[in-house]
């Protein structure tokens, strides 16, 4: 690991935790530490989703930092209960509270003791020091911890599955739900921030935006027949599906983000297996159209050189998709931990790809300067690289701070892939069109 990180390609763990908590109905998250972390994380999430996001903090003082944060935590929970009347409070630690070694489960015990019989929301907690993880691992760890703390097994429910989502956009979550419903499956999708982070205007004031998976439904995860778990590039110990398998023997399908024909096929196949149904016609039509699209556009794409960067799960799937359409993934980079892209390394198609793990944007930029690339695919933080190299950047993943519509981007499933495919193809055509001396109207 380098000693100075220049323009990091990952964010910090409690951001991922806050995102998961946004996917629970009527839930407010509280970060245990100084208030700056909560303010910064809110600012960052809001800039991406363009929606109101409330995250409370236990607001440490110097005194708290030295003597422990129990009283601050308890007070902040009480104040959140009074002002928001939530059903659930999601607590996550920050580097500071982790450094001093505050034990949240002990603090919560004390809280419940003092609270006695008063009506109290469900309180979930997770430990997310950023010196031990990124926003992506923080996301999956929180998802795992929530399921671990809440899922119970009573009576297995027929045709019910869990979908443990990844860092998808609200539009992608909506589309996942629709796809699963077309297989006549009852689905518990978690975390579901498709409404809380992509809502309409309000004619009535909402302390907490409507939407999210209700906690009672999350409890029911233990009764599912199987889990589809998108924590593909993550370690087993932070996989929610794995945890349910261990506890209740519920089979878990660790699945990559379904982008491109190959990865979508796996995903739809899994649904077909679990539902005992054939893949519905509409999806087969979407698949045909996608392949037809590939055929129509292959001449613009073949041999183009792409650099992909961002969240390891996204980089993995996007790379496989790009290789599928004839684009050379010359560099695949992530700020995620070492070996998080091991899945690419073992594939023949990426034998000549430079795979950078635990890297920062400067590493990517350096790479682009010394090697040639035609297109970049990644977060909006890559705009400096794109600008300097004068090549297009297709924005996907997190964060997207310089364009509208991040919440509506849908790049998964056959249809979503087609979307991404068109954007990439058109960007390359536009680049070519603009560089020609004659203005051709037909390309």
């Amino acid at each position: 690991m380098k000693d100075v990180t220049k323009n990091a390609c990952h964010l910090c763990a409690p951001l991922g935790a806050s995102l998961v908590y946004k996917g629970i109905q009527n839930c407010v998250s509280v970060l245990h530490g100084s208030q700056g972390c909560a303010t910064y994380i809110r600012r960052y999430l809001i800039g991406h989703f363009r929606e109101p996001i409330d995250i409370a903090s236990s607001s440490f003082t110097e005194h708290t930092a030295v003597f422990g944060g129990q009283e601050n935590m308890i007070q902040s929970i009480i104040n959140v209960i009074n002002t928001y009347s939530p059903d659930v409070i999601g607590v996550a630690t920050t580097c500071l509270s982790e450094t001093i070694g505050d034990d949240i489960s002990m603090i919560l015990k004390e809280f419940h003791k003092r609270r006695g019989e008063s009506k109290t929301p469900v309180i979930l907690y997770t430990s997310t020091p950023s010196y031990r993880g990124t926003h992506v691992t923080g996301f999956f760890k929180t998802l795992h911890d929530v399921i671990n703390q809440t899922a119970i097994q009573t009576e297995p429910v027929d045709r019910m599955i869990n979908i443990f989502s990844g860092l998808f956009s609200p539009a992608e979550i909506r589309s996942l739900k629709e796809i699963a419903a077309s297989f006549s499956l009852k689905t518990i999708l978690f975390p579901d921030y498709s409404d809380t982070l992509d809502g309409g205007n309000w004619n009535q004031y909402h302390p907490i935006p409507p939407g999210g998976t209700p906690i009672q439904i999350i409890n029911n995860c233990g009764n599912a027949q199987a889990s589809i778990d998108f924590s593909f590039c993550q370690k087993d110990e932070i996989s929610a599906g794995q945890s349910l398998f261990g506890k209740f023997g519920i089979p878990s399908y660790r699945t990559a983000y379904p982008i491109g024909i190959e990865l979508c096929d796996t995903f739809y196949d899994t649904l077909a297996t679990l539902s005992g149904m054939e893949i519905p016609k509409q999806f087969m039509r979407e698949r045909e159209r996608l392949i037809d699209g590939y055929v129509d556009a292959h001449k613009y794409l073949y041999g183009k050189r792409a650099v992909v960067f961002g969240d390891e799960n996204l980089v993995f799937s996007v790379s496989i998709f790009l290789a599928e359409i004839g684009i050379d993934v010359v560099c695949a980079a992530t700020g995620g931990p070492k070996d998080s892209l091991i899945g690419l390394k073992t594939k023949e198609a990426f034998a000549r790809t430079d795979i950078l793990e635990d890297c920062d944007y400067e590493d990517v930029e350096e790479w682009v300067i010394h090697n040639r690339a035609d297109i970049l695919v990644g977060s909006s933080r890559g705009n400096k690289i794109a600008r300097n190299a004068e090549i297009p950047l297709i924005r996907c993943g997190f964060p997207i701070h310089d364009r509208v519509g991040a919440a509506r981007q849908n790049f998964i499933g056959y249809k979503g892939t087609h979307n991404l495919f068109d954007q990439i193809t058109n960007a390359l055509i536009e680049q070519r069109q603009n560089s020609m001396s004659i203005n051709y109207g037909t390309m």
Binding site: G36, R132, P207
Partner: protein, 549 residues
């Protein structure tokens, strides 16, 4: 919601405000409500009202405030382009402060040093937390030095660093000695140190004063009028507009703290003859320390608002007592104001009588009222996020502010007259005379005295409270930051970001004023707000009225 807007706007609205306030506070536990109550004032200028400010936010109340580190690194030093700023800590703190304030900078030559687009961090890992991070910090500084050979490297401590006890100052000293040609200095600006960003401002002022100011005595031009502009951060290009104005007047801007600045200009800034202070909150310490050590007088000015800009320029001319300069200033004002007035006359037709609320920063909530007044708009309520009582009530209140544990946490530098370099810029009698004529020479009168009677003033407003205000008062525009933006807009009220300007600007000076008028016109008069209630609901309302009538 208050149906009768005139009622709120009238001077006898105390009862209305009080009722609303009580309703809002009733949601808090009694102890919290009592505490919040002290941060509410229904303004009666001239009566010496006190407001509670700069105290700890209640845990669990969602505040808009940031941390000490944010104030130190993000605000005061972020805009200086040629210092390599390294955040010592885990990755998030540094990442989140990366270019988010949108300070602009324009190096003179393309090859000049500019590290603004970079975010350096030691990205601490487990083993650094357990065994200490000094070694990693040293190698990080070395790496940055080898890579860029910058003139200066600044180190910022985040919360965990304070706890594990890394000594960033010792490391900085050691590396500075080792390099010989690079000024390395550290800041103990851990997020928990203070109540808000404000503590970070103070820490930044102290360290810059200790390590940078006065390290270069050469006077590089023979210009007659040499000034510094303090507390102007070049958001959206504000500094560029002000640089244009000073250039036209032949006034040399030695240094701006810190919009579009370089470390050399700050090193040299003690040679100026006057400090103009924009944002009193973030930089008043510097003005005072420079006065004590080098004898540079300061005055509070405001370049937000065309008329306020004109007033500020006249004030500066008066200080320099130079007929030629005064003439230039008058000429410039009459030319620039003519353009501004043409523009505003047309826009005013659409904005007059509309209402605004401002909850932002430590000076902006005050300064921007000027622009709204120029648009004939009414201010209903205002407040700061991280200001102190003097920013509300004026500096006269300073002696009566209690020093609490949080303020004691921050070092007060002992500054003395510099035996060689202290120079009286203006005879004391003349300065006293200026002070008699203008209450804002070496003083700030605060926001409250300039707001109308009956307006509502709230410090450190929480998310919940601002949402309630919107619901109750429905102002035509709300000014705050991105954290409030989407919540407010969901309720059908436009929100103008005064931290980042929604990527617009500049808004300072004369050209900036025109930009602002146009932006506000667009926001309060766009047709989209009429779409928010769907036609069938509108009809339902009319029907309901009809039936009940």
């Amino acid at each position: 919601m208050i149906e009768d807007k005139d009622k709120v706007m009238s001077k006898n609205n105390e009862a209305v405000h009080t009722e609303i306030k009580e309703e809002i506070l009733s949601k808090f536990p009694p102890k919290v409500a009592r505490k919040r109550d002290k941060s509410y004032v229904i303004n009666e200028p001239g009566t010496g009202q006190a407001i509670q400010a700069n105290i700890r936010t209640v845990p669990g109340i969602i505040t808009q405030r940031g941390c000490t580190y944010a104030g130190c690194k993000g605000v005061v030093l972020g805009p200086t382009r040629d210092i390599v700023n390294i955040t010592h800590g885990p990755i998030g703190c540094g990442f989140y402060s990366w270019l988010t304030r949108r300070n602009q900078t324009l190096p003179e030559k393309e090859t000049d040093e500019n590290y603004m687009a970079y975010c350096f961090s030691t990205d601490m890992q487990d083993e650094n937390i357990v065994f200490g991070g000094e070694k990693k910090l040293k190698t990080a500084i070395q790496e940055a030095y080898d890579l860029f050979h910058p003139k200066a490297i600044a180190i910022f401590s985040t919360c965990p660093v304070g706890l594990i006890g890394d000594d960033v100052h010792a490391v900085s000293r050691e590396m500075k000695e080792k390099f010989g040609d690079c000024n390395v200095f550290g800041f103990s600006c851990e997020g928990y140190r203070g109540v808000s960003q404000s503590a970070g401002h103070h820490i930044a002022n102290n360290q810059i004063f200790k390590h940078v100011v006065g390290t270069d005595d050469t006077i590089k031009t023979d210009k007659k009028f040499r000034i510094n502009l303090l507390g102007e951060y070049n958001i959206g290009g504000d500094s560029f507009e002000l640089e244009r104005i000073f250039e036209r007047l032949g006034v040399e801007l030695v240094a701006t703290y810190s919009g579009n600045s370089t470390i050399d200009s700050i090193a040299n800034s003690h040679t100026a003859d006057l400090n103009l202070v924009m944002c009193h909150r973030s930089i008043n310490y510097m003005a005072e320390m420079m006065q004590t050590k080098y004898g540079i007088p300061w005055m509070k000015i405001n370049f937000i608002g065309a008329k306020a800009s004109a007033k500020s320029l006249r004030k500066m001319a008066l200080y320099f007592e130079d007929a030629k300069l005064s003439e230039e200033v008058e000429k410039l004002i009459s030319e620039e104001l003519a353009v501004v007035e043409d523009e505003v006359a047309e826009i005013k037709k659409r904005t007059a009588g509309k209402t605004a609320m401002l909850f932002v920063g430590g000076s902006r909530a005050h300064h921007y009222q000027e622009l709204f007044k120029e648009l004939d708009m009414k201010i209903l309520a205002a407040g700061y996020e991280f200001a102190h009582r003097d920013d509300y009530e004026g500096r006269d209140v300073l002696p009566s502010i209690k020093v609490d544990a949080d303020s004691r946490n921050i070092e007060e530098l002992k500054v003395e007259k510099d035996p060689d370099r202290y120079k009286e810029r203006i005879e004391q009698s003349k300065l006293d005379n200026l002070k008699k004529k203008d209450p804002e020479v070496e003083n700030y009168i605060g926001m409250m005295s300039e707001m109308e009677a009956g307006t509502l003033i709230i410090d450190d407003i929480s998310h919940y409270e601002s949402e309630q205000l919107i619901k109750k008062y429905r102002p035509d525009i709300f000014c705050a930051g991105i954290k409030e933006k989407y919540a407010i807009q969901k309720s059908g009220v436009p929100l103008k970001q005064l931290h980042s300007y929604d990527y617009g600007g500049p808004y300072a000076g004369f050209k900036g004023a025109v930009n602002f008028y146009k932006d506000i016109d667009r926001m309060v008069n766009t047709s989209i707000w009429s779409l928010i209630v769907p036609p069938w609901e509108k009809e339902a309302e009319i029907n309901a009225d009809y039936i009940s009538a």
